[in-house]
Symmetry: C2
Subunit: 193 residues, 2 copies
């Protein structure tokens, strides 16, 4: 039998990046059109087209049952209207695959929802290990003034469903009200009927 | 459908413990009889019966395919003869389940071996994310002067096989030679034939 060789991925503790990442995904506002609730604010900000977040994928492990994938994500601070910078958010293609987020820097929320639109929000700061149970869609939100950085670990065969969120949105938004993060209903959410 | 509720486990960044752990396993030398190579040194040290390591299990997630389990481990500094304090080590009962270790404090090694006795050693320090690929038995070793602390994440259905290591040992030891960690062959290792 041939075995995969063990390895170590080094995370830069200054900024949470992975200098030797297998791949890096960069998301600017233009890559996220339609995901923020305030479309006028989005259009106005597109002139600057700010960097919203970067994902540093540690490995290219085979997408097989039993293997894990892991990455760090850096969400930059900022707002589109009063909605904080966030990730696109997704469900897992294999819905029963869970995920663990471990916060390295900054502060933010793990925002989750069931396929039926039930919302849950987990506040995160360094030391928080937040669990995405099976079937919950999930997105992360930077509610602080500095970068929000976390390590994500998930089964390599989980896969991604970004389409459901892109089409229907999340049932809640996380917005700044008098400088405080608040979870509020999303008027644009398209519930399943 | 009923969904599991998302939650956050807080890791104490001072010492890597989980104050609200679902369970804690404490391993003293008397719990590890026969695992260190120098039996005379082990017997002599049993009078003090030092604490070797503690595991803080974050959750009691169901041991189902798709779920994850996670924990922090604190290995205290010390030696039995010239062999550093370490964990018992195990294979996964489901051999194809991988695991991720993320170092939080201190320095040490992830020591791995295949069922046929091939050895691999990954040096770890804060920022190291070390991958245990499918089928590799694994043990962690504190080669530093302070606590060696790491977060472990693994599929909830991986299960444990401690018996193989207890009966056959690892093919290599990590020992102190002139204050430096060295990986050396284990004269007591029982290879499969």
């Amino acid at each position: 039998m041939t075995y995969m060789t063990p390895f170590t991925t080094w995370i830069d503790l200054k900024d949470g990046t992975i200098p030797k990442a297998a791949s890096v995904q960069t998301q600017q506002l233009s890559d996220m059109r339609g995901l923020f609730a305030d479309r006028q604010a989005e259009v106005a900000l597109l002139a600057q087209n700010p960097l919203i977040y970067r994902v540093y994928n540690a490995t290219n492990n085979a997408k097989e049952e039993g293997q894990l994938l892991y990455s760090t994500t850096v969400i930059y601070p900022g707002e589109v209207g009063d909605e904080y910078f966030m990730t696109k958010g997704h469900y897992h293609a294999k819905g029963d695959r869970a995920e663990l987020y471990y916060c390295l820097q900054g502060e933010g929320y793990l925002l989750l929802q069931t396929p039926e639109g039930e919302i849950n929000a987990q506040a995160m700061a360094p030391g928080a290990a937040s669990y995405v149970p099976p079937y919950w869609g999930h997105r992360t939100v930077n509610t602080g003034l500095s970068n929000f950085v976390f390590l994500a670990v998930f089964p390599a065969d989980a896969g991604y469903d970004y389409k459901t969120i892109a089409e229907r949105g999340f049932a809640a938004l996380i917005v700044a009200k008098n400088g405080q993060a608040q979870v509020v209903p999303n008027p644009n959410y398209l519930a399943r009927v």
